[in-house]
Symmetry: C2
Subunit: 404 residues, 2 copies
């Protein structure tokens, strides 16, 4: 039986991948503690002191996984109802990989202002938010405005989860090829949610020569063809004012990162790159170039988005631990340093002596990763003064493991 039918069978059997039990069995004795009249007591304390909500409710370990269904996987705008299996899946991964309770919310509107207003009013319910599968460029405005008005962490995984794992892979790829972030030319194909986030994140990390290509070729400075988000990207990148097609961009490049569409990269393009080319061909399910082809053209380091090739870029390496780390210290924001800390934590999960072309990104199924990423993210949140409580690395690791 193929995996498609297996997935349908599993979903039909489960009728929903999550459920919501009580932590404590209800008895005739505790009914009046869990509910009226006893329940009034924690309510009164929280009314007096908002931060007591973390003592007496589930909020401190609760993430909302929120989508409008406008850009679901590679399926496009299939709507809120049809997005639910993905959101439930995400919630399962939060629980399994980082002990985070996560609840899926699919919203029946795609109006940006309505979405912002709805999501911001969910704040008392959650300790952090994971935005998911919201189309670009709408997702940029939604995330930016929510980050401004909300006092809890807001994380759009399609942007930042991908960017964090790409950087983790890149850190190890640079080690293997003995290149340094200051001296590489990076070509990024795709200026949607992932491409934009990867660009901004690599810039924040200190990569300064980045060329972005979309379907019309290289993003050029001073073009007046772009929306404000693309204009911002063009302004920040392409420091040598290059022009032309994707193929032109490959000349003298060290790294290619594709978050676009299948089969647009040829062997000839890779042959134009500097020595030891690094190829991240992440289009799903069919990459920009197949690993075998890339290798034949001289690619030294190859990564895809697929689990059937080695070195998969899989967001599950990042988002459970990142949000768990934010929750652990009640972070009010997810900063660039917190994400960089996550990338470094993921990269260093593979000891240097074990690094190789076939093993430079950890495998997705690894229960060790969540707690370690959480600890690094929490540490960075404390350093960046966005944490509302302080905890040591060991405390975050221990707490997270106890939730698994």
């Amino acid at each position: 039986m193929d995996y498609k039918q297996k997935s349908l069978d599993l979903h039909k059997k489960l009728k929903g991948k999550i459920y919501i039990p009580s932590k404590e069995k209800i008895t005739p004795e505790n009914l009046s503690l869990v509910y009226t009249p006893g329940v009034a007591e924690p309510c009164k304390l929280i009314a007096e002191n908002a931060k007591d909500s973390y003592q007496y409710t589930a909020r401190g370990n609760m993430v909302g996984v929120i989508s409008d269904g406008s850009a679901v996987l590679g399926l496009g705008n299939i709507g809120a109802l049809a997005a639910m299996p993905v959101m439930e899946g995400k919630c399962v991964l939060f629980k399994e990989f980082a002990g985070v309770d996560a609840f899926p919310i699919c919203l029946n509107t795609q109006n940006v202002d309505e979405l912002i207003n709805i999501i911001k009013n969910l704040e008392p319910t959650f300790g952090a938010l994971n935005l998911e599968d919201i189309s670009a460029p709408r997702c940029f405005e939604i995330e930016q405005k929510l980050k401004k008005v909300m006092d809890i962490s807001v994380f759009h995984d399609d942007q930042h989860g991908t960017a964090v794992v790409v950087l983790a892979g890149l850190i190890n790829a640079l080690k293997l090829t003995k290149k340094s972030k200051e001296n590489i030319k990076v070509v990024i194909s795709g200026s949607g949610a992932a491409g934009t986030a990867i660009t901004n994140f690599l810039l924040a990390y200190g990569v300064d020569n980045i060329i972005i290509c979309d379907r019309d070729g290289i993003l050029e400075k001073n073009s007046n063809q772009y929306n404000i988000f693309k204009k911002d990207l063009a302004d920040k990148t392409n420091k040598n004012n290059e022009g032309g097609s994707l193929a032109d961009a490959f000349i003298g490049a060290d790294v290619f990162i594709g978050v676009s569409v299948a089969d647009i990269v040829t062997r000839e393009m890779i042959e134009r790159m500097n020595d030891n080319p690094i190829i991240f061909a992440l289009a799903n399910p069919n990459p920009e170039i197949l690993p075998d082809e890339a290798k034949k053209a001289g690619a030294k380091i190859i990564s895809t988005g697929r689990s059937d090739f080695p070195n998969q870029i899989n967001n599950v390496l990042a988002f459970p631990g990142i949000l768990r780390g934010a929750l652990a210290v009640r972070a009010t924001d997810i900063t660039e340093n917190m994400k960089i800390a996550a990338s470094i934590a993921i990269a260093t999960l593979i000891p240097e002596e074990e690094l190789s072309e076939d093993n430079f990104i950890p495998r997705a199924y690894n229960l060790e990763i969540g707690p370690i990423v959480a600890a690094s993210v929490a540490e960075a949140a404390i350093k960046d003064s966005v944490a509302r409580v302080s905890k040591t690395r060991d405390e975050v690791i221990k707490e997270t493991k106890s939730l698994l």
Copy 2:
């Protein structure tokens, strides 16, 4: 240790009364079925056919417990954050008494239009909604508008849960006193959410002589002092155009139902009632008159809202089974007949030969009740043509028990 401290200790120990596990343990093998790429398959089917959401997601057994924190227990407007312990408690009761997965959502706005807009856009996430602790008269407009625009059941428990259990108690009280619904005079003290709902519900059940009192005395027809909701109540009740105070209303009454404030009923008032007075003094925590006092004044049948007296009116007898019944047949609405069916189911849980003044309302902690109420509600939904699937009583009972 008193129950208040016990409740705080329990809440602090649990840090939230609910959690959200995965139904299926994640393994390296099923990761690609639960999440990408396999998860795309149920998404595609739901996008083609909306009702497949009930096959492939948790929605079919998922209730949203939604509050704005504007009227929490007897605490008043303590806000969304402080309302969460109550909402979590409600979710626990849904699970324990009827196997329903319920998630608490506390919304950080008390603007009626905003609340309506937010809640209606949550529709893809839930199979039914339980509104909770929203102040009157705002709750009437919110519930009525949501019922109109939403395709799933919407139930405001503070109104209808209370009304359903009051009617269950009244059905048995009338049996014990050999009175009939057509020939009784009922005095209701309180015109808020509960008083309004009880009035409308008793009218729907066939009680036609109802007098409502608020703090200014009897609600009179043709007064222009009232908001539209109170005016509607006055128009529908007081068929003999009585006037005066609460004490005046007691003259010749058979039933008193208090959903107001402590200690406003005296022995003298009860002595003005017809033979075998029925007293439901439901103000919490202190009733309109204490049971001992009422008994001394000749009350035959006495109920309160408190668990330390017999015959407690407790919503937990109603809401888990009602919503579970609605979910079982994917009801698009909660009709008067569905609620009446719930009242009759609760009343008849006590066999006639066991009915007595000390035992005419079932005890709140009883795991038999949810499935039976669910079956009766589902049956009524099918009769009223608001069910989208058909199931027998036995199927609903069996399905509900399997979820407990």
